[in-house]
């Protein structure tokens, strides 16, 4: 039988590869549409409530996008967007919402406590941990500057 090293090299050479150009284009398109949707939400809010502060508009945009993503996940559309767009739909805040809602739906059958609540963060958990840790570090640095 072939040597392990030679075999790994053979597999590396011969395995079908991801099509770089089309994957990047699809991700760019999907991510771009999500960001444009966010900008559109911001522009609409500006027209309806002209006095709203910039920070509040930002919060509203995030809330709207998270809601839309959760809704699309719930009706079984977001996974299709993800299959098409890859990182384009994974990286924006909508991807984070999808990562929380999808396991919550999936593990609903194992009960509310050990199913939904404990499995909800299986994918998003690390993001929250890194976010909190980075926040603490930035806060401590900010205290001394």
């Amino acid at each position: 039988m072939i040597e392990a090293k030679a075999y790994q090299e053979y597999v590396k050479q011969s395995a079908p590869k991801t099509k770089m150009m089309s994957t990047l284009l699809k991700a760019f398109l999907t991510g771009g549409i999500i960001c444009c949707t966010g900008q559109a939400v911001a522009d609409i809010i500006k027209v309806i409530i002209p006095d709203m502060s910039k920070e509040n508009i930002g919060a509203f945009v995030s809330i709207t996008l998270v809601f839309l993503s959760a809704l699309l996940t719930g009706i079984g559309v977001y996974d299709r967007i993800g299959r098409f767009g890859g990182a384009g739909s994974l990286i924006p805040i909508t991807g984070f919402a999808n990562a929380v809602v999808a396991p919550a739906m999936e593990y609903n059958r194992e009960g509310v406590v050990f199913g939904i609540c404990s499995k909800m963060f299986v994918i998003a958990g690390p993001v929250i941990v890194f976010g909190v840790v980075a926040g603490v570090i930035a806060g401590i640095i900010g205290l001394f500057i």
Binding site: V11, G82, A102
Partner: protein, 336 residues
């Protein structure tokens, strides 16, 4: 060490039954399966319960197709991919026969058939059913991501087959006219690990084990691959079959054009299953649906079936372990 065993009193295939999900039913082999489900829950509340039901109904279907009932059965040999093989064992609690649970990942169907052949050929038992199952949604939630999670699959990945298949083996020839199919030999496989650590490239992880078992089979029986009308591996997928051809050719065994892979043929190109099907139910549903009917109508007279399995748990790749493979081969011969 001898790995190949030829059975003096070769057991007969008395019954076969296959159940698949809707996606498999729409594939090129759709018309060969005994039952195609309309949805992937089959009236149950969870995917696991659906797989248990599929497994149980496959065993009962195989008994029915042989005109027998569960009281004729000596043993149920079963396997699946759910944790602690609950699909097979829970299915067996409704059947009045001893239960032997197998585990060789997706190679389990070959392992089950070989063990059953030993029991029958040795004269210890008369009627044994061999069954395996897998369920796409059950496997996804156990090994990968939630169904609604929007991720992408790599080009080397495969699609777990929603399917169950059961074969009924008997030590005496089934009554009636027609072609009789015998399980004449088995080659048991060793665990082979050539250091593949990509869990979305199971074809590459399993192909060396398949190559090792097949080469042992050909050399120990002094047969050339062309002795067979059809050679099928379990679930190497399209890319895995290329690797297997390469590995066996290096050792001087060129696989003929009649070589194919159950996983590579179960889905059509447009079904976006990438390299094809995988799972313990892949080889068992294709064998009990498609291949038995081809044996029965004598399109195939000598079949070498080699289900392949990748041995890993959800945790081992995270701990940096590589993925070993195992494959067991069985020979079916049709005679009048």
């Amino acid at each position: 060490m001898k790995q190949t065993f030829v059975f003096d009193k070769a057991p007969y295939v008395a019954g076969a039954y296959s159940i698949v999900g809707p996606k498999e039913g729409l594939g090129p082999l759709g018309k060969y399966f005994s039952l195609v489900l309309e949805d992937d829950l089959w009236g149950e509340k969870t995917f696991e319960k659906c797989e248990i039901k599929m497994h149980r109904e496959a065993i009962k279907g195989a008994l029915d197709s042989a005109g027998m009932n569960q009281h004729d059965l000596d043993a149920v040999i079963g396997a699946d991919l759910l944790n602690q093989i609950v699909a097979a064992s829970f299915a067996a609690r409704d059947i009045d026969a001893v239960f032997l649970g197998m585990y060789g990942a997706c190679s389990s169907f070959g392992e089950s058939l070989a063990i059953a052949a030993f029991l029958l050929s040795g004269g210890f038992m008369k009627t044994v059913s061999c069954s395996t199952s897998s369920h796409f949604s059950g496997a996804e939630r156990q090994y990968r991501f939630p169904l609604e999670y929007g991720n992408q699959r790599t080009p080397t990945s495969q699609w777990t087959v929603t399917g169950a298949g059961a074969t009924l083996l008997t030590s005496v020839a089934p009554e009636g006219e027609g072609v009789k199919v015998k399980l004449t030999a088995a080659t048991l496989g060793k665990v082979i690990d050539l250091g593949i650590d990509d869990e979305s490239n199971m074809g590459a992880a399993m192909a060396p084990a398949a190559a090792d078992t097949l080469i042992k089979h050909f050399s120990e029986l002094e047969r050339s691959p062309s002795y067979y009308d059809a050679i099928y591996t379990g679930d190497l997928g399209k890319y895995g079959t290329e690797i297997l051809r390469y590995l066996t050719a290096r050792e001087g065994y060129n696989l003929p054009t009649c070589y194919s892979d159950c996983g590579a043929i179960i889905y059509g190109y447009e079904q976006k299953a990438l390299q094809g099907g995988s799972g313990a139910g892949c080889s068992s549903s294709v064998f009990n649906g498609y291949l038995t009917s081809r044996l029965k109508n004598k399109e195939i007279k000598r079949l070498l079936l080699c289900p392949t399995g990748a041995l890993l748990s959800k945790d081992t790749p995270l701990q940096g372990a590589t993925i070993p493979g195992v494959a067991h081969a069985v020979v079916f011969e049709a005679e009048d």
